[in-house]
């Protein structure tokens, strides 16, 4: 039997898992090593699969018995009919795609609800690095340098909310995370400044 345990997954994935209803259908875009799907399949009897670009991650998914498709998100979700999943999940990946607006539109077409987690570029540590040091920020959440980062479309929480408003996308749930637990209340009070990661559940507005 598989000895893979699902207890220790990234905290944001744990929170996303909490948002998914039992026995629902899930498409996990950029599913990495399949930790989230593995947990959802094991614990919530979810039906679904992952999409992943890195072949090494594909091997890890197969090793966990998580169905996974090797594909590039930038090539779109043409293979999927409208509303084919209860949830389409994109965790910490929106900022690496070529056209986040197109990917979001596709996600909302394919899924009834979409769950997106994104690093907040408005986080105070990031702001202060740019403001005080005058250098491109490097943090735990965004550990790359300006020259090697895959993160080509970073946004703030405010940016994302505004985008949703402009595109008539309804935000039905939001969770703000701060690595520093003591500042949890601050993250909720002033998320655009004190949350380093946000999780949004969105759906098409009426």
């Amino acid at each position: 039997m598989s000895s893979i345990k699902s207890e220790h997954i990234r905290p944001d994935l744990e929170l996303i898992a909490g948002l998914v209803k039992d026995k629902s259908t899930v498409l996990d875009l950029g599913c990495g090593e399949g930790e989230l799907l593995h947990k959802l399949i094991q614990e919530k009897d979810v039906q679904g699969h992952g999409v992943e670009f890195s072949d090494k991650y594909i091997y890890s998914c197969v090793n966990k018995d998580v169905p996974v498709i090797h594909a590039d998100l930038n090539e779109g979700l043409d293979d999927y009919p409208d509303n084919s999943f209860d949830y389409v999940i994109l965790s910490r990946t929106l900022q690496v795609v070529k056209r986040p607006d197109i990917v979001l539109k596709e996600m909302l077409r394919v899924g009834e609800k979409c769950i997106i987690s994104l690093p907040n570029f408005g986080f105070w540590k990031i702001r202060s690095q740019l403001l005080l040091k005058g250098k491109m920020p490097v943090t735990k959440t965004l550990p790359y340098h300006w020259y090697d980062t895959p993160n080509i479309h970073l946004s703030t929480i405010k940016d994302f909310k505004q985008f949703c408003q402009n595109k008539n996308i309804k935000i039905i749930n939001q969770i703000y995370i701060n690595n520093d637990r003591s500042n949890k209340w601050l993250a909720n009070l002033l998320p655009n400044c004190f949350a380093n990661l946000a999780i949004f559940t969105i759906q098409n507005g009426t």
């Binding site: 039906q47 699969h49 072949d55 169905p67 996974v68 498709i69 090797h70 293979d79």
Partner: protein
Amino acid sequence: MNKETKNNSNSVGLVERQYFSFAESPNEMVLENGERLGPITIAYETYGKLNTNADNAILITHALSGDAHVAGYHSENDDKPGWWDFMVGSGKPFDTDKYFIICSNVLGGCMGTTGPGSINPKSGEPYNLNFPVVTIGDMVKAQKQLIDHLGVKRLMSAIGGSMGGMQALEWAIEYPEMVASVIPIATTSRLGAQGIAFNEVGRQAIFADANWKKGNYLNHDCNPAHGLVVARMLAHITYLSEESMHKKFGRRLRDRERYGYDFSSDFEVESYLRYQGESFIQRFDANTYLYITKAIDYFDLNRDYGSLENAFKNVNCKFLVISFTSDWLFTTAQSKEIVKALKINRKHVSFCEIPSKYGHDSFLLRNEDMEQMLESFLSHVYDKPKKL
């Protein structure tokens, strides 16, 4: 010969080809084209043991030039082991300590299974071109008889590369209750114009050989060897990649410093292809080459079932679809068509395009990624044979 390999504890060692006959008159097998064929003999090999629940059987389906001899040696004097030896054995992806592995030579073949070179019981002569044109579906239908004969109710997996992948797909579609998983590797649901074109050139090379005698060469005690050599040389190029050919041969000359200014083989790649062709005719039959390439050309799930989505509507197994980056004969795009149709049907499917430089032949070569993936995929199927 590498003695070490042969004595390797992971080798399945000495194996024996076995035979199973069925479809005796008047119960001949009805073929896709409506003709009846019988009796039929199938040559096969097995490795490992069928467990008491009969749920650990894996069927390996071979490609155009393959045969039932997947692993091990037929005799102490064999130079080479079976064609997928590194995959089958104790501790290997097809672990003979856990699984019961079956491979049979396809219908129409020339390695022990009834084919155009077999004796037609009605005439007492070889069938030659009187042998009916068989399809991939017919090959699988014959395999099904063998699987029943072996007492296997449900295959744990059907797996094959290239034409073997076509058979594996056919298994999933035609016998959905009899397969728990299917692994189509470097294959397609239908060949494109380019693939058919290459097959046709191969067939024309055989037709053009004066020794072919309209298919009756066995009656004339001759062999269209040259035609088959040319067919194989051409096909062999399509199994490689530009990069792998360049790396292996470049423009290197063979046994000479400068051009010969004649038509002997100057370049290494020329003599390599000639060698490939020459060794192929030692073990392969020209008419079988015609029949099997035709079966490959005819294979078209889209046509047979209206659409590919429709073809997979009732499949009831897990899929692991694999393609290789440098395979330009059975491309990743073709594998993706299969994956898309399965996804639309909400089937349990995983797909991976494995990086490899070696073209279509990649599936026959050692590849750690492929081996690891097959091993873990199969072990999950084995652990949960009932639950899908």
